[in-house]
Symmetry: C2
Subunit: 137 residues, 2 copies
Amino acid sequence: MTYRIGELAKLTDLSEHTLRFYEKEGLLVPKRNVSNVRVYSEDDRLWAEFIVHMKGTGMSLEDLKKYKDLRESDSDNYEELVAILIRHKENVEAKMAEYQHNLDLMNKKIAMYEQYMDGQGEKDLYDRFVKEKRTQN
Amino acid sequence: MTYRIGELAKLTDLSEHTLRFYEKEGLLVPKRNVSNVRVYSEDDRLWAEFIVHMKGTGMSLEDLKKYKDLRESDSDNYEELVAILIRHKENVEAKMAEYQHNLDLMNKKIAMYEQYMDGQGEKDLYDRFVKEKRTQN
DNA sequence: CTACACCTTAGAGCCGACTCTAGGTCAAGG
DNA sequence: CCTTGACCTAGAGTCGGCTCTAAGGTGTAG
Protein backbone atom coordinates (compact mmCIF):
# COMPACT_ATOMS: atom_id res chain seq x y z
CA MET A 1 0.00 0.00 0.00
CA THR A 2 1.32 3.40 -0.95
CA TYR A 3 -0.14 6.88 -0.66
CA ARG A 4 0.00 10.10 -2.59
CA ILE A 5 0.41 13.31 -0.71
CA GLY A 6 -3.31 14.13 -0.61
CA GLU A 7 -4.17 10.71 0.77
CA LEU A 8 -1.50 10.84 3.45
CA ALA A 9 -2.61 14.35 4.36
CA LYS A 10 -6.08 13.05 5.09
CA LEU A 11 -4.82 10.03 7.01
CA THR A 12 -2.51 12.03 9.24
CA ASP A 13 -4.44 15.29 9.54
CA LEU A 14 -1.40 17.13 8.29
CA SER A 15 -1.85 19.45 5.32
CA GLU A 16 -0.16 18.77 2.00
CA HIS A 17 1.81 21.96 2.60
CA THR A 18 3.01 20.60 5.90
CA LEU A 19 4.05 17.28 4.39
CA ARG A 20 6.07 19.09 1.74
CA PHE A 21 7.56 21.27 4.43
CA TYR A 22 8.55 18.19 6.43
CA GLU A 23 10.23 16.84 3.32
CA LYS A 24 12.19 20.08 2.90
CA GLU A 25 13.33 19.64 6.51
CA GLY A 26 14.43 16.07 5.83
CA LEU A 27 11.93 14.77 8.33
CA LEU A 28 9.79 12.65 6.03
CA VAL A 29 11.21 12.06 2.57
CA PRO A 30 9.08 9.85 0.32
CA LYS A 31 10.18 8.21 -2.91
CA ARG A 32 8.94 9.56 -6.22
CA ASN A 33 7.30 7.76 -9.13
CA VAL A 34 8.30 8.20 -12.78
CA SER A 35 6.23 11.38 -12.96
CA ASN A 36 8.04 12.87 -9.97
CA VAL A 37 4.97 12.47 -7.78
CA ARG A 38 5.60 11.73 -4.09
CA VAL A 39 4.87 8.11 -3.17
CA TYR A 40 4.59 7.50 0.57
CA SER A 41 5.14 3.90 1.73
CA GLU A 42 3.46 2.16 4.62
CA ASP A 43 6.40 2.88 6.87
CA ASP A 44 6.39 6.52 5.77
CA ARG A 45 2.83 6.58 7.04
CA LEU A 46 3.82 4.97 10.34
CA TRP A 47 6.64 7.45 10.74
CA ALA A 48 4.26 10.32 9.94
CA GLU A 49 1.93 9.09 12.64
CA PHE A 50 4.82 8.85 15.07
CA ILE A 51 5.72 12.46 14.22
CA VAL A 52 2.16 13.54 14.94
CA HIS A 53 2.17 11.80 18.32
CA MET A 54 5.53 13.14 19.36
CA LYS A 55 5.03 16.72 18.29
CA GLY A 56 1.64 16.47 19.96
CA THR A 57 3.49 16.02 23.24
CA GLY A 58 5.82 18.89 22.49
CA MET A 59 8.80 17.29 20.77
CA SER A 60 10.34 19.72 18.30
CA LEU A 61 10.74 18.87 14.64
CA GLU A 62 14.46 19.34 15.16
CA ASP A 63 14.55 16.59 17.78
CA LEU A 64 12.42 14.35 15.63
CA LYS A 65 14.92 14.87 12.83
CA LYS A 66 17.77 13.88 15.14
CA TYR A 67 15.84 10.81 16.19
CA LYS A 68 15.23 9.85 12.60
CA ASP A 69 18.86 10.37 11.61
CA LEU A 70 20.04 8.27 14.52
CA ARG A 71 17.67 5.49 13.67
CA GLU A 72 18.73 5.44 10.05
CA SER A 73 22.42 5.60 10.77
CA ASP A 74 24.26 2.30 10.38
CA SER A 75 25.72 2.40 13.87
CA ASP A 76 22.80 0.70 15.61
CA ASN A 77 22.66 3.29 18.38
CA TYR A 78 19.71 1.95 20.30
CA GLU A 79 20.96 3.31 23.59
CA GLU A 80 20.83 6.82 22.20
CA LEU A 81 17.40 6.25 20.72
CA VAL A 82 16.11 4.97 24.02
CA ALA A 83 17.81 7.85 25.80
CA ILE A 84 15.96 10.34 23.58
CA LEU A 85 12.66 8.60 24.20
CA ILE A 86 13.23 8.46 27.93
CA ARG A 87 14.24 12.09 28.08
CA HIS A 88 11.14 13.09 26.18
CA LYS A 89 9.00 10.85 28.33
CA GLU A 90 10.32 12.57 31.42
CA ASN A 91 9.59 15.97 29.92
CA VAL A 92 6.05 14.89 29.22
CA GLU A 93 5.64 13.57 32.75
CA ALA A 94 6.94 16.83 34.18
CA LYS A 95 4.56 18.76 31.94
CA MET A 96 1.68 16.60 33.13
CA ALA A 97 2.55 17.28 36.75
CA GLU A 98 2.59 21.01 36.01
CA TYR A 99 -0.73 20.71 34.19
CA GLN A 100 -2.25 18.87 37.13
CA HIS A 101 -1.05 21.54 39.51
CA ASN A 102 -2.53 24.26 37.37
CA LEU A 103 -5.76 22.33 36.98
CA ASP A 104 -6.05 22.32 40.75
CA LEU A 105 -5.56 26.07 40.82
CA MET A 106 -8.19 26.57 38.13
CA ASN A 107 -10.64 24.37 39.96
CA LYS A 108 -10.18 26.42 43.11
CA LYS A 109 -10.68 29.62 41.18
CA ILE A 110 -13.78 28.26 39.49
CA ALA A 111 -15.21 27.10 42.80
CA MET A 112 -14.58 30.52 44.27
CA TYR A 113 -16.33 32.31 41.45
CA GLU A 114 -19.27 29.96 41.69
CA GLN A 115 -19.56 30.47 45.42
CA TYR A 116 -19.41 34.18 44.87
CA MET A 117 -22.10 34.09 42.22
CA ASP A 118 -24.30 32.18 44.63
CA GLY A 119 -23.80 35.06 47.00
CA GLN A 120 -22.34 32.69 49.51
CA GLY A 121 -18.70 33.55 49.33
CA GLU A 122 -16.07 36.12 48.75
CA LYS A 123 -14.00 36.49 45.67
CA ASP A 124 -10.43 35.42 46.32
CA LEU A 125 -7.62 37.59 47.52
CA TYR A 126 -6.42 38.49 44.09
CA ASP A 127 -9.80 39.66 42.95
CA ARG A 128 -10.24 41.74 46.07
CA PHE A 129 -6.96 43.41 45.27
CA VAL A 130 -8.17 44.20 41.82
CA LYS A 131 -11.42 45.62 43.09
CA GLU A 132 -9.66 47.86 45.58
CA LYS A 133 -7.32 49.09 42.92
CA ARG A 134 -10.20 49.88 40.62
CA THR A 135 -12.11 51.80 43.22
CA GLN A 136 -8.99 53.79 44.06
CA ASN A 137 -8.40 54.99 40.52
CA MET B 1 5.19 46.00 48.63
CA THR B 2 6.00 47.07 45.09
CA TYR B 3 8.50 45.86 42.55
CA ARG B 4 10.57 47.34 39.79
CA ILE B 5 10.82 45.50 36.54
CA GLY B 6 14.08 43.74 37.37
CA GLU B 7 12.70 42.44 40.65
CA LEU B 8 9.49 41.19 39.12
CA ALA B 9 11.46 39.55 36.32
CA LYS B 10 13.37 37.53 38.90
CA LEU B 11 10.25 36.64 40.86
CA THR B 12 8.30 35.45 37.84
CA ASP B 13 11.09 34.02 35.68
CA LEU B 14 9.97 36.29 32.89
CA SER B 15 12.58 38.54 31.28
CA GLU B 16 12.39 42.31 31.53
CA HIS B 17 11.93 42.32 27.77
CA THR B 18 8.97 40.01 28.15
CA LEU B 19 7.40 42.15 30.87
CA ARG B 20 7.70 45.23 28.67
CA PHE B 21 6.27 43.23 25.80
CA TYR B 22 3.30 42.19 27.96
CA GLU B 23 2.73 45.82 28.77
CA LYS B 24 2.75 46.73 25.07
CA GLU B 25 0.10 44.04 24.60
CA GLY B 26 -1.99 45.48 27.43
CA LEU B 27 -1.64 42.28 29.40
CA LEU B 28 0.16 43.63 32.45
CA VAL B 29 0.28 47.40 32.76
CA PRO B 30 2.01 48.71 35.89
CA LYS B 31 1.85 52.23 37.22
CA ARG B 32 4.84 54.55 36.88
CA ASN B 33 6.62 56.58 39.50
CA VAL B 34 7.59 60.23 39.02
CA SER B 35 10.66 59.16 37.05
CA ASN B 36 8.52 57.13 34.67
CA VAL B 37 9.87 53.89 36.09
CA ARG B 38 7.49 50.91 36.13
CA VAL B 39 6.13 50.15 39.59
CA TYR B 40 4.47 46.75 39.87
CA SER B 41 2.04 46.30 42.73
CA GLU B 42 1.34 43.16 44.70
CA ASP B 43 -1.66 42.36 42.58
CA ASP B 44 0.37 42.98 39.43
CA ARG B 45 2.67 40.28 40.75
CA LEU B 46 -0.23 37.93 41.42
CA TRP B 47 -1.58 38.55 37.96
CA ALA B 48 1.88 37.96 36.47
CA GLU B 49 2.03 34.63 38.26
CA PHE B 50 -1.42 33.76 37.01
CA ILE B 51 -0.23 34.54 33.48
CA VAL B 52 2.74 32.25 33.93
CA HIS B 53 0.53 29.41 35.13
CA MET B 54 -2.02 29.80 32.40
CA LYS B 55 0.35 30.19 29.51
CA GLY B 56 2.23 27.23 30.98
CA THR B 57 -0.85 25.18 30.25
CA GLY B 58 -1.16 26.56 26.76
CA MET B 59 -3.47 29.55 27.11
CA SER B 60 -2.59 32.19 24.55
CA LEU B 61 -1.68 35.73 25.53
CA GLU B 62 -4.67 36.82 23.48
CA ASP B 63 -7.04 34.80 25.64
CA LEU B 64 -5.37 36.02 28.80
CA LYS B 65 -5.91 39.55 27.55
CA LYS B 66 -9.60 38.82 27.01
CA TYR B 67 -9.85 37.35 30.47
CA LYS B 68 -8.20 40.42 31.96
CA ASP B 69 -10.44 42.82 30.06
CA LEU B 70 -13.53 40.94 31.15
CA ARG B 71 -12.46 40.96 34.74
CA GLU B 72 -11.75 44.66 34.71
CA SER B 73 -14.93 45.60 32.92
CA ASP B 74 -17.63 47.05 35.09
CA SER B 75 -20.27 44.58 33.98
CA ASP B 76 -19.42 41.95 36.60
CA ASN B 77 -19.44 39.14 34.06
CA TYR B 78 -18.50 36.28 36.30
CA GLU B 79 -20.33 33.74 34.18
CA GLU B 80 -18.10 34.58 31.24
CA LEU B 81 -14.99 34.47 33.37
CA VAL B 82 -15.95 31.09 34.72
CA ALA B 83 -16.82 29.93 31.23
CA ILE B 84 -13.33 30.86 30.01
CA LEU B 85 -11.73 29.06 32.92
CA ILE B 86 -13.86 25.98 32.40
CA ARG B 87 -13.15 25.92 28.70
CA HIS B 88 -9.45 26.17 29.33
CA LYS B 89 -9.64 23.53 32.02
CA GLU B 90 -11.30 21.16 29.58
CA ASN B 91 -8.61 21.84 27.02
CA VAL B 92 -5.96 21.04 29.57
CA GLU B 93 -7.73 17.85 30.56
CA ALA B 94 -7.96 16.79 26.92
CA LYS B 95 -4.29 17.57 26.46
CA MET B 96 -3.46 15.47 29.51
CA ALA B 97 -5.41 12.53 28.13
CA GLU B 98 -3.51 12.82 24.86
CA TYR B 99 -0.23 13.05 26.75
CA GLN B 100 -1.08 9.95 28.75
CA HIS B 101 -1.90 8.05 25.59
CA ASN B 102 1.37 9.06 24.01
CA LEU B 103 3.28 8.22 27.18
CA ASP B 104 1.88 4.71 26.93
CA LEU B 105 3.08 4.47 23.35
CA MET B 106 6.52 5.71 24.33
CA ASN B 107 6.74 3.24 27.16
CA LYS B 108 5.92 0.39 24.82
CA LYS B 109 8.53 1.57 22.37
CA ILE B 110 11.13 1.91 25.10
CA ALA B 111 10.33 -1.55 26.42
CA MET B 112 10.71 -2.97 22.94
CA TYR B 113 14.07 -1.35 22.38
CA GLU B 114 15.27 -2.59 25.74
CA GLN B 115 14.14 -6.12 25.03
CA TYR B 116 15.89 -5.96 21.71
CA MET B 117 19.10 -4.70 23.26
CA ASP B 118 19.01 -7.61 25.68
CA GLY B 119 18.85 -9.88 22.67
CA GLN B 120 15.56 -11.21 23.91
CA GLY B 121 13.17 -9.61 21.50
CA GLU B 122 12.48 -8.25 18.11
CA LYS B 123 12.29 -4.62 17.19
CA ASP B 124 8.77 -3.58 16.51
CA LEU B 125 6.99 -3.67 13.24
CA TYR B 126 7.88 -0.19 12.27
CA ASP B 127 11.56 -0.68 12.82
CA ARG B 128 11.53 -3.87 10.83
CA PHE B 129 9.99 -1.95 7.98
CA VAL B 130 12.76 0.58 8.17
CA LYS B 131 15.44 -2.08 8.18
CA GLU B 132 13.96 -3.79 5.14
CA LYS B 133 13.77 -0.53 3.30
CA ARG B 134 17.37 0.27 4.09
CA THR B 135 18.66 -3.08 2.89
CA GLN B 136 16.68 -2.68 -0.31
CA ASN B 137 18.24 0.64 -1.26
C1' DC C 1 -9.22 16.48 -27.20
C1' DT C 2 -10.21 18.79 -23.31
C1' DA C 3 -11.66 19.39 -18.65
C1' DC C 4 -10.64 18.39 -14.23
C1' DA C 5 -8.40 16.80 -10.08
C1' DC C 6 -4.25 16.35 -8.43
C1' DC C 7 0.34 16.98 -8.46
C1' DT C 8 5.01 19.89 -8.92
C1' DT C 9 8.43 23.95 -7.67
C1' DA C 10 10.75 28.09 -5.46
C1' DG C 11 10.08 31.31 -2.68
C1' DA C 12 7.32 34.74 0.01
C1' DG C 13 4.33 35.63 3.93
C1' DC C 14 2.31 34.90 8.45
C1' DC C 15 1.75 34.14 13.39
C1' DG C 16 2.72 34.04 18.29
C1' DA C 17 5.87 35.06 21.42
C1' DC C 18 9.49 36.79 22.33
C1' DT C 19 14.44 38.95 21.98
C1' DC C 20 17.46 42.34 21.01
C1' DT C 21 19.54 46.95 19.58
C1' DA C 22 20.66 51.72 19.82
C1' DG C 23 20.53 55.49 22.08
C1' DG C 24 18.89 58.01 26.08
C1' DT C 25 17.60 59.20 31.39
C1' DC C 26 18.37 59.04 36.23
C1' DA C 27 20.04 58.20 41.19
C1' DA C 28 23.59 56.72 44.26
C1' DG C 29 28.45 55.96 45.66
C1' DG C 30 33.60 56.80 45.29
C1' DC D 1 32.22 65.29 38.93
C1' DC D 2 32.00 60.80 37.02
C1' DT D 3 30.98 56.19 36.61
C1' DT D 4 27.92 52.35 37.26
C1' DG D 5 23.83 50.05 36.92
C1' DA D 6 19.13 49.94 36.49
C1' DC D 7 15.88 51.84 34.00
C1' DC D 8 13.51 54.04 29.60
C1' DT D 9 11.89 54.17 24.25
C1' DA D 10 10.74 52.80 19.41
C1' DG D 11 11.35 49.71 16.42
C1' DA D 12 13.78 45.79 14.09
C1' DG D 13 14.99 40.92 14.15
C1' DT D 14 14.45 35.96 15.33
C1' DC D 15 12.44 31.52 15.64
C1' DG D 16 9.49 27.47 14.96
C1' DG D 17 6.14 25.91 12.37
C1' DC D 18 3.57 26.36 9.16
C1' DT D 19 0.69 28.47 5.10
C1' DC D 20 0.14 30.29 0.82
C1' DT D 21 1.03 31.91 -4.07
C1' DA D 22 2.03 31.68 -8.85
C1' DA D 23 2.89 29.22 -12.58
C1' DG D 24 3.15 25.08 -14.55
C1' DG D 25 3.00 19.47 -15.32
C1' DT D 26 0.33 14.87 -15.41
C1' DG D 27 -3.19 11.50 -16.03
C1' DT D 28 -7.73 9.81 -16.60
C1' DA D 29 -12.91 10.11 -17.89
C1' DG D 30 -16.24 11.66 -21.01
